[in-house]
């Protein structure tokens, strides 16, 4: 079983019986994570701390040589109502978005979703009168 092959998270192939045993190690919390979520989809971030690793170059495509740690910064909502997790690379500041998996840490997700409302840049009382 290989734990540190970085190709695991960039490949987008359908799971075969053998690849369901694939794992990767989270770059932040060190958790050994199965590369496939329980619903059979490939994951690219740690379900515990939601951090990811910068392995795909989204500007020019292909593999990125940055390999920096990517921290979750916000929640985006698709038209379908599904949540996407926006990551920012702590080394080169590139942004990526990835779908939220069913077993992701709900506490961190909810904390990020309500974070803007905790510190609004303008008073929110006026919106009650609208």
């Amino acid at each position: 079983m290989s734990h540190d092959n970085p190709q695991h998270r960039s490949a987008m192939s359908s799971p075969s019986p053998m690849s369901s045993l694939e794992t990767f190690t989270c770059v932040r919390c060190g958790l050994t994570v199965a590369a496939y979520a329980p619903d059979g989809s490939r994951r690219n971030h740690c379900p515990s701390c939601l951090h990811s690793q910068h392995l795909v170059d989204h500007v020019e495509g292909g593999r990125s040589d940055c390999e920096g740690r990517m921290a979750p910064i916000s929640i985006a909502v698709l038209r379908t109502g599904d949540w996407m997790l926006v990551h920012r690379c702590t080394r080169c500041d590139e942004l990526t978005s990835n779908p939220v998996r069913g077993d992701d840490n709900q506490l961190i997700l909810m904390r990020m979703a309500v974070r803007p409302l905790a510190q609004p840049p303008f008073p929110l009382e006026a919106f009650g009168d609208l």
């Binding site: 989204h58 916000s74 985006a76 909502v77 942004l95 978005s97 909810m110 905790a118």
Partner: protein, 139 residues
Amino acid sequence: MTRRKPRRGSGRRPQRAKDVLHGPAGTRGDAFRCVGCRLDVPLAAPGTAHRNHCPSCLVSLHVDGRVPGDRAAGCRGRMVPLSLSVRQDGEWMLIHDCLACGRLSANRIAGDDNALALVRLALRPLADTGIPARAMLAL
């Protein structure tokens, strides 16, 4: 909530100096026209020196590459506001998503940005009762 220590030693790096061309033929210009609502937007904005989106509909245009202000992208697609992120110091950042190529970019909100549009964006994850309700029950 505990504050994490700033990751770059003595805080954030200073902003890069940018000389951004907003005019029609590569001229300096003092205004741009929004691709979303056709509003004429002056470049002078309260609270920021790097306005890149319309204060009324929050739509931006994909012209920059990796570095803000470099005008290196040939895409020129419409960038719609996707989500809001909060920096360590409490500043709201607007995440834009290019409709043409899917590129994401972040920009600080300006002082005259449409507050209703911003709050609607901030409430979007909580508007749908499915996932948040399930998350709260799981805690």
